[in-house]
């Protein structure tokens, strides 16, 4: 079993409890025995998700990011060049695509897929980096 990167759309669905598939992806990682199969996301994706969920859902998202199975990649001076390399494909839309680039970068670092219900911002960046998008059509 391999990890998954959750983008902001998946985090929103998790927090709102609105996607059985996202819940299944998380639960099945947690079921793995012996070593942690991570649920990965990024600080920009968490920020974007927090901006889109009601106050009552914040605790659900917070609980996930604090779990031992969850890894949150920060956007730091150290990681900026790697994210910028992904972001280069966005050209003049770089500012708007920063969250998507952080997600694709997190997936590229680990060679694992991204789970999303909103593939549009990710498609060009993921395709260029050879990252698979797992589209959640359930909601």
């Amino acid at each position: 079993m391999i990890g998954r990167v959750l983008d902001s759309s998946s985090l929103v669905h998790w927090a709102r409890r609105s996607s059985p598939y996202v819940s299944a992806v998380i639960f099945s990682r947690a079921e793995h025995e012996g070593y942690i199969v991570p649920v990965v996301t990024t600080a920009p994706a968490v920020t974007a998700a927090l901006a889109q969920i009601p106050d009552a859902a914040v605790a659900v998202l917070d609980a996930l990011v604090r779990m031992e199975i969850c890894v949150v990649d920060d956007l730091t001076p150290g990681s900026a060049p790697g994210v910028a390399e992904v972001l280069r494909a966005a050209g003049p839309y770089a500012a708007e695509q920063l969250t998507a680039a952080s997600v694709v970068h997190a997936a590229r670092r680990r060679d694992i897929p991204v789970v999303t219900s909103n593939p549009h911002p990710l498609v060009t960046l993921a395709d260029r980096m050879g990252i698979e998008l797992e589209i959640d059509l359930i909601p």
């Binding site: 391999i2 639960f27 079921e31 012996g34 070593y35 942690i36 996930l64 694992i112």
Partner: protein, 58 residues
Amino acid sequence: MDAEQGITEQERMPYSDEQRERTLAQLRELMGGEPPADMLALARQRDEEFARRRSHAA
């Protein structure tokens, strides 16, 4: 792929039975139970598909 590609191995942390049970209990509480069986089966099926593609790409 860049030099960071080995990160999955670097991040591979031990996961004790106690940690596992605690995490699963927390998830069950947040979810109000376990995810639907068909969704768990779909997640497992996609894991197998990803694993096959990764092994072919290697």
